[in-house]
Symmetry: C2
Subunit: 199 residues, 2 copies
Amino acid sequence: MNKIITISRQYGSGGREIGKKLAEALGVPFYDNELITMAAKKSGYTEEIFKNAEQQPTGSLLYSLSMMGTANALAFELPLGDKLFIIQSNIIKEVAAKGGCVIVGRCADYVLKDNPNCVKVYIHADLPARIERAKNVYGVDDNKIEDRIQKFDKKRASYYNYYTNMKWGVASNYHLTVNSSVLGIEKTAELLKEYVERL
Amino acid sequence: MNKIITISRQYGSGGREIGKKLAEALGVPFYDNELITMAAKKSGYTEEIFKNAEQQPTGSLLYSLSMMGTANALAFELPLGDKLFIIQSNIIKEVAAKGGCVIVGRCADYVLKDNPNCVKVYIHADLPARIERAKNVYGVDDNKIEDRIQKFDKKRASYYNYYTNMKWGVASNYHLTVNSSVLGIEKTAELLKEYVERL
């Protein structure tokens, strides 16, 4: 299986778990936080700084300043967010060159847009299912859960739109998009497996 | 099979043909132009006026005036486009109440949004495939083919956005969206069939 399946996903849609199950079913590596760790180790930056980068969609100089202080930030040509994105993108290209795999998040679909083996998938879900998941699976427990979901989506969209100049969640950016509430996590992973095997 | 499969589609994506094949494979009725004819017969308006309505996304009073003349248009409370939309929507609900079927276009996904049997699908395709299809299947033969494709999409988007207050082509509006260039017409129809059977 030489396909690189990239999965973008709404917060609470189960996209990450679906990706993991898909990778297991296909017998290929799965990259998510592992990817950050690899990137972090290689670059010398901490893992923490990479995690924050995805939450800081602007990737702007202002962000670099607030994270590193003026003097340090000015020692670099590019804003930190942009540097981290480039490091991550190189890691994504490296793992993709090794063969079939599943990569969740991090604009991997855009990074691999010229790779003919790349299969671009987007997972979303109905709001009630996402609330349930945030509560039961991620252990989020507050009365502003809907706000949090919206905030997460906005951050992911903003990060994606900034780095790719495309609109996150627009169907025509992906080969396949699925509402995971319809079939549930397990069967959505099976659907994706059959789709990939059909290619 | 009691599912009502609604198909929205980009111009040149083969969505209509996929819908037809899907309906055949599932052994259920297929509604597209047939729907217009039914609606036209029932209302007393001509078929032509319904066809034009989908090309005239504003559904505005101005449009009604240009089509019917001031005096006639003023004899109606609603703009003509809106009236036609309501007549069409009622027909869509009627055919959906009869049982499983495939309906292409006409915001059927929105019209049937409260119908638990409704399966919302969106079909798009890569631009080169759409150009090929416009040339070879629809017989469009001019040097402004790309402009035409964009114009058609804009009209469909505008019509959809006007009547549904949602964004046409945004993945989260649909249960499944597919790029038909990947598998081609025949196999995309098969994929949809298997998806529906899985529900």
